[in-house]
Subunit: 387 residues, 2 copies
């Protein structure tokens, strides 16, 4: 019994020093939650105006991709986590050797941040994931025409939809990336699902109920996400089992977001994993007993895992910089959305907007999927980020 | 309809500049919530190690009781609020004249912070509140022996239980305060209740369900608080109506905590009011649709009021510095409490503990008053702040 272990350890909790690499909205929401615990917070980030800069005890200006910056930042800390994968792994490994707790472990971040290594890991560990090939340049695509239609993903450097493209047929090969990448068989997708899982140093896991991504049929853009996902109990169970089976094989504590496809034959495929708090878990702040941010702090600070059960049905919409507007951000329609019952607004405090930039999100709680979906769609029309 | 007004105003929300006088735990929890909105935060406080210092955009070291410090702090801000009453009211009035929005209005803080003026206000406005006399020194108590047993409260300077004492009989008069104070008839208390109410600039109110204070029968100390209060529907309604009738007479936007007694004959008496977020509203972070902190931001920033309904039954315990320990704070039993289902821990990050200091709180959510009360009492024994 974990509980008995804790009793026997007779722990005296002191203020721990925790660092976050990256200062975006994920760091910001982590820091909002950190203020509930005895922890002194440090953030490393180039931009002193970033969403996290004013919410930590110590903001350190520096490059999360630079070996020396990361090493200097981390060496006096008790524990370090990341809010983005593009960090200097060599420095994290050096810090880990020196006794700093790095969660997730640098080895798993190194594997995940490179999509070629990530796919190889899935294959090696018999994780169901779409069939793939590795191509090193545009020329090599020509050798695999029979593999199309496929999705090409840059090995490194893709983020937030960048570095991913669909190649339907030979005529589209000139769009191909001129860099090492994964060419993945197109799945006949019925649903896109995300599962967030926390795993602690003892290997105990806490799994959040799966979330369903709902796409705008005309624009093929993520419209909103909804939880619980509209799937049969057996399919939900299969998804949770695939996702948690994967996370256990990472051999690392941390919080992981596993994105999956359900195809037309109800087969489940792992698309990709993020080794950190994730956009698909924002609703957990209000809709679950423990949020993804709280769960990660519990893991970082060595506290017991929390319960992940649903408090309410929810839908979440991202608040995206409106096309055609760049400059100082203004929020049109904010009071109207805040007047809606069950609306929880999160604006990330980014000073500048630009088309497509994630500027905030709104979670709706309510009694039924229909109710919250309707509100999410309405809010998307009402609330705009302009300049 | 407020909603239609908002639509017609076609508001473009810009980043507002908001200041808080005081940097304790109430400011801290306000700032955790502020990070959801487009607001630039300023805190004025003497202690650069205070719980709020690292969670605002701009920490300004200064004395909230000093005219010049408050004036300098406030003059470039859009809106100012307080997290403690002992602030320089003259400076706030000067700022108000200059067009800075002060919420609550300085006039109401001036009245409330002096218990003699506060009682006079209740009398003048026919608010049911225990009968009282004003005494200016210990000698004057001798003239009112027939008024005993009574409670003597210092006119100014009392806080968190200090500046209040019970005078049972003539033999106790040497304990009397040697300063202007209120002598209040003892009420035969059945229940102690708190009601938190938000009121916006349009005079619309949002009332939180009343909270009941549960006292340790042996120590006569607040043991925990529970919501909803265990009272008949008609009594609850009477309490809400007394409290919201009072708040409307303040003629000020803001968030107010009204503390009341129910006596043995089910009469309702206003004990006192705080013109700010309050200890008795901490549970609203998890247990209500909108928290007291969120509601105050909505009022400060001119957003619509939120719904205050209960999400769950709750009990809240304060985490108090253990007698006999002073120095760097350590938290014994924290993981054990965090392992309890439905426990939400809030540690305020105060570096130093001392006996009786408020160091944090824990809110328990659960299905029944019995369940959450039991957990609150258990947590109180398990979790200790020592040095």
């Amino acid at each position: 019994m974990a509980f008995i272990d804790y009793l026997h350890r007779a722990i005296l909790i002191l203020m721990q020093k925790a660092g976050i690499l990256g200062g975006g909205q994920l760091g910001r929401m982590l820091l909002q939650q950190a203020a509930n615990y005895p922890v002194e917070t440090y953030v490393l980030e180039n931009d002193p105006q970033c969403p996290s800069a004013h919410l930590c005890h110590h903001f350190v200006q520096g490059n999360i991709q630079d070996f020396d910056d990361v090493l200097r930042f981390g060496k006096t800390l008790d524990v370090i986590t990341i809010e983005i994968e593009t960090v200097n792994i060599d420095a994290l490994e050096e810090l880990e050797k020196g006794g700093v707790k790095i969660i997730p472990r640098p080895a798993v971040v190194r594997m995940i941040k490179n999509k070629i290594r990530q796919k190889a890991f899935y294959k090696e560990h018999h994780i169901p994931s779409p069939e793939f090939l590795v191509v090193n340049n545009r020329q090599e695509l020509q050798d695999h025409l029979s593999f199309l239609p496929a999705v090409q993903k840059l090995g490194e450097g893709g983020y937030d939809g960048r570095g991913v493209q669909v190649l339907q047929h030979a005529g589209e090969l000139d769009k191909g990336f001129e860099a090492p990448s994964v060419l993945e068989k197109m799945v006949d997708i019925k649903k896109e699902i995300a599962v967030i899982i926390g795993i602690n140093e003892q290997g105990e896991t806490a799994v959040f109920p799966p979330v369903e991504m709902v796409f705008d049929p005309e624009l093929n853009l993520l419209d909103y996400q909804i939880c619980p996902a509209n799937l049969s109990a057996s399919l939900l169970q299969k998804i949770e089992s695939v996702a948690s089976g994967l996370v256990k094989q990472f051999e690392s504590p941390g919080l992981f977001a596993v994105e999956l496809f359900v195809d037309q034959r109800d087969e489940v495929w792992v698309n990709e994993t993020a080794p950190r708090v994730h956009n698909s878990g924002h609703h957990t702040i209000e809709a679950n007993q423990t949020s993804q941010f709280d769960l990660l702090w519990r893991i970082l600070l060595g506290y017991p895992l929390g319960k992940t059960g649903l408090v309410s049905c929810s839908a979440m919409v991202n608040l995206i910089g409106q096309p055609g507007y760049s400059g100082a951000a203004r929020y049109s329609g904010l009071p109207e959305v805040m007047a809606m019952e069950g609306a929880y607004v999160h604006v990330y405090g980014k000073k500048q907007t630009k088309p497509g930039r994630k500027m905030g999100h709104v979670t709706f709680l309510g009694e039924s999927p229909e109710l919250v979906s309707g509100k999410a769609q309405a809010a998307k029309k009402m609330l705009q980020v302009i300049a």
